[in-house]
Each structure stands twice: as structure tokens, then as C-alpha cells.
């Protein structure tokens, strides 16, 4: 187990270093931040001063070296645009994004798995067919369009829900969360639903396919032949066996929802990291881009670890650290 954790850690450090270098190179290739930051009426002296102030006057490799030295001390640099430590800018927004991502995932899981199960058990009934039709709609409608329609219906026409922003927050373990206040829930409802829609459709289809396949397996036939109640057959034999791919997908999707909820965040002006990333790319705010991607890679690594641990809980045949000889 320890060897496994160490190996994982080593891999992660390598991924982080490689990624930060690629981002450095990428931003350098896109353009010169000074062009976007400096007032166009500024003269040459002012341009040189700004470049020196931001450390952009040095060769790229030197800049990267400086970054590595500082990063080793835990300093990922200051935003060119805001003059605020990049990591602080990100961590201030991360709770909002995490909350949105978890809310969307919870909606997707709580609705998607039961609906998918239902559709898998009764594939030819009207209910199974309408669930599948609904999931196709959920798949094919673009997120930004659904978001705008939600705003038009629930904010503009009905006036039930606020169209943008995050509601009142309360502090839980030092993190500001908004799902515990009524105002917060009202603000959270639409963006979370909008973000959940695609995952929901995905989970419905995945669960349905898994269920239909599992129903034909010998162990299900055997369980039914044994006279077990249908509820137990589904709850224990079917569900447990189809969970492995579903957990994998939920894990991957959770990561991508955290990292790339950009469209939903900008339509609902949700103060999360996705919006920060896109603004930073447009402004070539390199310290923020680098720090953001490092945070996201770290989160992906953590989620993958959790998924691996969940496998072993769901399926005793999967052992953590299987590559190392077991004692």
C-alpha cells in the first residue's frame, strides 16, 4: 500500500512539472501579455518597465526556472492582471465551483441511476421509451442554450429564481457554502441543473445498458431461479455488478465538471474557477493559468485515487497495489 502511494506521488509530481512547462510554452506561443496589459498610448520606456515589473523581460527558460524555484517554496506567482497571488485567486473561487460540481453530480446520480435502472428493466414500456427519448434530448441540447432557456423561463417569465450569481453563504469547516441557505439554494438550482443535464443523460444510458446486459447473465437467472425477491435481485446482484463502470464515469465526469464548467459559470455569472480560467486565457494571465491547471491536475489525481479505492470496496477481486506482490 505504501509503495503504491509513493509511486502515485512520484507520477503526480512528474505530471505537474511537465504540465507547467507545457503551459509556459503555450502561453509564450500565443502572444505577449504586455500587448494586452499596457495602455496603447504608452511609449517604449513604459512597455519595458511593465515587462520588467512582470518578469517578462527575461528569456523563457529563465522565467520558467524562476517559476520552479518559487513553486518549490509554495509560491505560484502573482496574477499579472490583479496583482493578487494566483493561488489565492483560485482558492477563493474553488469552493463555489466544487459546490456547483457536487450539486450537479448529486442531481445526476440521484436521478440518473434510478431512471436508467427503470429504463433497463422495462425497455419496451412507454416509460422506458420516454426516459430514453428524454436522455437523447439532454445529450443533444447545447448547455448554453438550455441555460438561457432556464433563465428565460424561471427568472424572466416566472420570476421564481435569480438569474445569476451565488446566494448567501455560511461557513462550514472554514469553507463558504451556499446550499444551506434558502437564498443559496435558489441561486444554485438552475446552474446545478444545467450542469447536471448532460451527466444525467450519460448516467441514464450507461445504467440502462449495464442493467440490460446484467439481466441476461447467469447469476441473475440463478438468483431468480432461487426465488429471491425481484427487489433483492436488482438491488444486490444487478446494481452492484454494474456499478464499476458507473463509478469510473462519475469520477471522470466530476473532474471535468470541476475543471470545465466554464459555459454554465459564465451564463449564470457563477463566481467559480472556470470563468476565472477563461478570463485569464483571454488576458494571457500566465501565473493564474499555470496555477489553475496545477490545482486541477491535483484534483484529478485525488479523484482517481478515490475511484481506485471505491473499486476495491465494490469488487473484492480488485486489490489496491495489485502490481506489488501481496503478503
Amino acid at each position: 500500500m505504501l509503495a503504491y502511494a509513493l509511486r502515485r506521488l512520484g507520477q503526480s509530481a512528474f505530471v505537474l512539472a511537465a504540465m507547467s512547462f507545457l503551459v509556459f510554452l503555450g502561453v509564450y506561443a500565443i502572444g505577449n501579455p504586455i500587448e494586452l496589459l499596457v495602455n496603447p498610448e504608452a511609449d517604449q520606456a513604459e512597455r519595458l518597465r511593465a515587462a520588467a515589473a512582470l518578469g517578462l523581460d527575461k528569456p523563457l527558460l529563465v522565467q520558467y526556472g524562476v517559476f520552479l524555484v518559487h513553486a518549490a517554496k509554495g509560491d505560484l506567482g502573482r496574477s499579472f492582471v490583479y496583482n493578487i497571488p494566483a493561488i489565492q485567486l483560485i482558492l477563493e473561487r474553488l469552493p463555489a465551483t466544487l459546490e456547483l460540481a457536487f450539486a450537479a453530480t448529486v442531481i445526476a446520480v440521484l436521478l440518473g441511476i434510478p431512471l436508467g435502472l427503470l429504463a433497463g428493466l422495462k425497455p419496451h414500456s412507454w416509460i422506458g421509451r420516454s426516459i430514453m427519448a428524454g436522455s437523447i434530448v439532454g445529450f443533444s441540447l447545447p448547455t448554453f442554450w438550455v441555460g438561457l432557456v432556464l433563465i428565460m423561463v424561471f427568472s424572466v417569465e416566472l420570476g421564481w429564481l435569480p438569474p445569476n450569481g451565488r446566494g448567501a453563504t455560511v461557513s462550514v469547516l472554514g469553507f463558504p457554502v451556499s446550499f444551506l441557505t434558502l437564498d443559496g439554494l435558489k441561486h444554485l438550482a438552475m446552474p446545478a441543473l444545467n450542469l447536471a443535464l448532460l451527466k444525467l443523460s450519460l448516467l441514464v444510458r450507461l445504467t440502462r445498458a449495464g442493467t440490460r446486459e446484467a439481466l441476461l447473465q447467469d447469476y441473475v437467472k440463478f438468483a431468480r431461479a432461487k426465488g429471491l425477491p425481484m427487489r433483492r435481485v436488482i438491488g444486490v446482484h444487478v446494481l452492484k455488478n454494474i456499478m464499476i463502470p458507473i463509478v469510473t464515469v462519475i469520477g471522470l465526469e466530476l473532474g471535468s465538471v470541476i475543471a470545465f464548467a466554464i459555459v454554465t459559470e459564465s451564463i449564470f455569472a457563477w463566481p467559480g474557477t472556470g470563468k476565472l480560467l477563461i478570463d485569464s486565457i483571454n488576458q494571457l494571465d500566465r501565473p493564474v493559468i499555470v496555477a489553475y491547471l496545477m490545482v486541477i491536475v491535483t484534483i484529478f489525481i485525488a479523484i482517481n485515487l478515490v475511484v481506485d479505492l471505491l473499486y476495491s470496496l465494490l469488487d473484492p477481486r480488485v486489490r489496491i497495489g495489485a502490481a506489488a506482490p501481496a503478503h
Binding site: I30, G31, N32, P33, I34, E35, L36, L37, V38, N39, P40, E41, A42, D43, Q44, A45, E46, R47, R49, A50, A53, L54, R78, F80, V81, Y82, N83, I84, L89, R93, F144, L148, I151, M152, S155, V156, G159, P162, P163, N164, G165, S266, I267, F268, A269, P271, K275, L276, D279, I281, N282, Q283, L284
Partner: protein, 526 residues
Amino acid sequence: MLRMIRIAAVALCVSLAAMGAAARDREVAIGLSSAITSMDPHYHNLTPNDALVLHVFEPLIQRDANMKLVPGLATSWRAIDDLTWEFKLRKNVRFHDGSPFTAEDVAFTLKRVPNVPNSPSSFATYTKSIVDVKIVDPYTIVFKTATPHVLLPSDMAAVYIVSKKNGEHATTEDYNSGKAAIGTGPYKLVEYVPNQRVVLAANYGYWGGEEPWDKVTFKILTNSAARVAALLSGDVQMIENVPTSDIAQIAKDKRFHVVDKVSNRVIYVHLNQSTDKAPPFVTDKPGKPLEKNPFRDARVRKALSIAINRDAIAQRIMEGKAVPAGQLLPDFFFGTSRKIKPPKYDPEGAKKLLREAGYPDGFALTIFGPSNRYINDEKIAQAIAQFYSRIGIEAKVQTMPASVYFTRATRLEFGYMLLGWGTESGEQGSSLRSLLATYDPSKGMGVTNRARYSNPQLDRLIEEAMGTLDDRKREALIQQAAELAMGDTALIPIHYEVSTWATAAGFRYTPRTDQYTLATGLRPGR
């Protein structure tokens, strides 16, 4: 009895509702289209910042809605001689913490401006001409410049005065947190959340009189559909930059009101004249680079200008929210010439000019432009390409994000560049100097002259104008320079952007030509 109770209850409800409405009426929320990057008035010279911070801090000289200079913290100013300026300061002005405003604060501000650490775009541009500051008395201050500096009053409109007492040792963070954000302005800073919102509260002791709003919340709504939705749902009472496609619909709705004003931003084309041979992406029709640079021929430049139907672009693409341009600023600004009219659409004349210049069959070029930097920039580039096909010029269009585009344009990697320019000084002399004077960045001449257009006669006129303190003489010189440059088609002006604001009914906004969105311009109204 029962009836009386009922009446009393109704009356109570009505008065409670009225009180609630009254309390709410003095609060207002405004949707902004771009992020505010700092509350430090000297950190990042950027239009949205300059507009927002103006609620909290004030300059010596203010600008009215037409960008004309009017007294601010200074009641009057004059040039004593070519190198000396005297400012008389307003008395009885207090900072938000109650301390009085004096010449010490002005001197402190001028010292702080060039020394803000990590500033990505410094305000030192506006103070570097001042070599010496002398405090005559608490309400009189004298600036010395090394050379005659005509833009000094205009520069002083861009430098916001901070309090010496609160500003010494204060960092940009202290301004963002509100600790040092103590100005003389009509509003106090309550909260600044980067990329989300800025909350202001009225400064009841403001020297200019009380504002109608107790609390103003600026929300950052960069997505234009989200901004419109926030207005429609009543979440905000005003938005800026109404998307052109939504203007007609909102204007028709009785619950809203749209106002607009022509801005100080001109959309123009720079033709790269830096090379003897053809500049990049300018070829003959089979794709071979041309032997000569066609853009060095004034006839070709003029042909490319009169081939564009500016009225059609303003009406169809901009839905009327643009004014065809013939120079760099609309003609109510200082230094503009009423003799210059937007070039008339004349495709036949353009063909004739091309024939005279030795291109009877035209040539091929690629129009480069940013995507989503200026209003409808991509569509404008495509329209220009279509107009060119009518005079036998094969034009392709390539647009890219601003982050890529401007870096490459500055490296002169393009031949034909669609660009925009907002004149912050409010006088045409400074735009002529930045865009069309011969490129010499060390002297501050032609710093954004991506055409590398060079005309010694024009340089002389600009230099003379920028050294003439007498307003009337200077204006005549700038007009002369503008007539010369535009007569030579030194660049191709397309149109002036029109800025738009939409308010809920019951609010009136005084639109501004500098594109600022200010709570001080928002008033309760019909």
C-alpha cells in the same frame, strides 16, 4: 368594527409596502460587461477600472459627458508660462475619513503614481512630464514641466487623488480591501470581489451634494446574454454594452429604456507600409508576392477606402449603432476638422484609381482582425472583403482572439489590419501622434503606428501642435494635420462605435462618450 379593522389592516399593508419600496428604491444594481481588476486608482490603466474607481476617488479635473474638461478637485488651472502650471484647489473637501483635502495629497499622489509595484499598465504616462511640484499654499499647487506639455490638463483628468494620510505605505491590496480606498468621491467602497462585484455606499458628506442612491452594486456579467437576462428579470436596473442584436427588442419594451452615444473609439484599418516589397499576405491573384508595396501608393490607399460602403456597415451590421468616420474622433471633439467628411462609397472611382496605380486587375490580400474585441469586428472584416471583391481585389478574412492578434499585429506580421482606437485625451492631436506620426517609440511618437506610415510634413505639424499651449492655435494646427493625414489616406477610418446602455423604466442614464458607466449618471426618472 370588523370593517375598521379591515381598513386599518389594508392601510398598514399599503404603508409597509410603500416603506419597503422606498427603502429598496435607494438601492440600485448595475451590470458591467468587463471585469474590474483593481480598486487601486494607480495600478492598472484600463477603461472599466478608471470608470469604477471614479466613484471613490476624484481627479483634479473632471470630464463631462462629452469628455470636455470641467473643474473637479481643482476649481481652476492655468499655464503661467510654457513650462509652469498653477492649479487652485477646491476648499472644504473632505476625504471619507473626515480628513481635509489639501495640496499635500496632490503632491503625495504624484509621487506615488510612478512607484506602484507590479503595475501592468502604469499611470506614470500622465505624470512623467512633471519634473517639479511646488506647494504654494494648502490650496495652490504649481507643476513644472521640462518641455511645453499641452496635454497636462487632460493628463490630470486621468490621475485620481488619494489621501496622503491613508496612502503612505499602502499597497494595492490595501486599496482592494478598502483599508486605503479612502477618497473624496461621492461613494465609499464597501466591498470589492474580483471578477464578481463591487459594492459602494453613498458618501453623505460629499462636497458636490448627495447622490440619490444609498447603495450601488456593480455586478460583473461578461456574458452578454446573461447581462440582458439580468436586466429583463429585474436583477439589475441598468446594463452597459447592450448586444446589438437585442437592442431593438429591448427598446420596444415599455418596461425598459435604451440610450446611446457615439464614443471616442474609432474602428480603422492600418495598411502595412513598412516594407519595400509587398507586406505579408498581399499578393497577386495567383498568390505570388507583389514586387512593390502597393500600400505606399496613396492612390491604392484611397481606392481601398472609398471601396467600403460605410453607411451599409453602420446600418446593417451595426444596426445603426455606429457612425461612419472620416477621421479619428467624432467632430464635436477638440482638434477635429469639419471639413473632413466620411469618404463617399465609390467603387467605380476605386477601380479607376487602381488602374492609374498600375493594378488594372487588382490584387489579393488577407484582412486580419480580432474576434470579439470590438463590436461585431468579425462581421465588419467580412463586409469589407465583399466590398473589395466588387473592385477586383480578392480579399480573404482571417480573425483571431485578441490575445494572439495584437501580439502578431505589433510584430507587423500582417499587411491589412482592422483595429480600434479610443482617444482618452479627448483631443485628436494625441491620436494622430500615436497612430500616424513616424514610428519612434523612444520619443513617444507613432507608438501604435502599425502602418509605419511616415510623412515628415505631418510629423512637423504634430510636433508643433503638441508644443503649442494656446488652445486656439493648437486646435488649428491639429485640424491642419488631420486634413493632411486624411487627405493622404494615411489610415482608413471605418466608423465610430456607439455605446449603449439599457435601464429599467423609472431610471434615466446620461450616456457618456468615454464609455464610462457611472452611478453618478443614473437618476430616478419617469
